[in-house]
Amino acid sequence: MQTEAGKTTATEQNSLVEEKIQKLRELYADAPELGRVALEKGLPDLRRELGAATGAQTAGRIGARQGKVSELTGIIPFAKGGAKRLRGLLQALEGNFRGGDAVGTLHDMRFVFLDYDTKLLFATAYDGEWDAYIDDFVTKIPNSMDLIFCNLEGWPGIHSSTVKDFIANHQVAAEAWYVASPNLTVAETRRLERLGKAADEFLDKVA
């Protein structure tokens, strides 16, 4: 049985947590006062959190993943006139980019213009591995990708052999990444949605 081993691990775990808390105290010694106060106040919660299993995983080549859901965060300079073009395109679509549905693994996606229209922040939440996800973009919506990203400095074209390097080079991996339902892929969510609809219809009929 694992009881003995479990106990040892728990003791080790506790001293590891105390060690981490000590490190945090040192780290926050030169923080603003409200940060130091927050640390002391948050200690009970923090103890639990520090003791919990590690949640950080990698999405593959670059980016963070929690469970089945990964993050992609890119910050890329605009080409000359690119911000104006992309804004006009998004406005014509009323900000809603339904092409995202065709990718099939995309949870959410945002386009944010930074630093007086000189850079684009492109951030998504998606299912699984980085390489497979980028491949989905390449095979399913290549034209939409070129239409959007041709407005960025140095975009080699979606069919170029260096397109993955371009994306990876401009991606910044998140230091922390949280997902409320880490086990729900887009496909699984769709299945549950259909199930919920069927259950509602069934209940309406028997009511």
Partner: protein, 208 residues
């Protein structure tokens, strides 16, 4: 009954043509591959522009919303030493933010990203509904976590300060494009569906 054939009213078609024309003009000086891509997607684009899905709306004070789902994108300058403190803090948590974050029952996803040589930080979330209600949840449910994180932010007044919301608004940048796969699913609705899915699986196991 036969399915109703829906045709766009003429003014809607005209409106779509006008928009397409605008996009063509906009891309007149785009790189070649952009112009080519435009012609390739134009057919698809015509149908999307003429029968658009619900447009993005405002999440309230600031931010974009699609259906029931909103986005928050905040970019702040970090105080000297702030990135180091915050990074070590996040590393010690092992990237696991769940115990605090799950208390906010409207938060779908959240990321912390350092950039520009650790002088700036991006804090981006996806959440349900209205900005003010969401921020109030953060303030009421996890104030100390917020101060721990945000004490690395230049000029942060403290979560209990009356100026906290103004600070957030000032540093938030509304997204110009926002896509959500399931704009009608709140977190509460997803939890309900998860329970239903589990019950259905158990039921099917039993009758099998």
């Amino acid at each position: 009954m036969p399915p109703e054939v829906r045709k766009n009213p003429p003014d809607k078609d005209q409106n779509a043509e006008k928009k397409i024309q605008q996009v063509r003009e906009l891309f007149a000086d785009a790189p070649d591959l952009g112009k080519k891509a435009l012609e390739n997607v134009l057919k698809e684009l015509t149908s999307q522009v003429s029968a658009p899905p619900p447009p993005i709306e405002s999440a309230g004070r600031v931010g974009a919303r699609l259906g029931k789902r909103s986005e928050l994108t905040i970019i702040v300058p970090l105080v000297p030493g702030g990135a180091k403190r915050l990074r070590t803090f996040l590393q010690l948590l092992g990237g696991n933010l769940s115990p605090g974050a799950t208390k906010v029952g409207t938060l779908h996803d959240m990321r912390f990203v350092f950039f520009d040589n650790d002088t700036r930080m991006l804090f981006a979330t996806s959440f349900d509904g209205d900005w003010d209600v969401y921020i109030d949840d953060f303030i009421a449910l996890i104030p100390d976590y917020l101060d721990l994180m945000d004490s690395a932010w230049e000029g942060w007044p403290g979560i209990r300060s009356p100026g906290a919301k103004d600070y957030l608004v000032k540093h938030q940048i509304t997204a110009e494009g926002w896509f959500v796969a399931d704009p009608d699913l709140t977190l509460a609705e997803i939890e309900r569906l998860k329970r239903l899915g589990k019950a259905a699986d158990e039921f099917l196991d039993k009758v099998a």
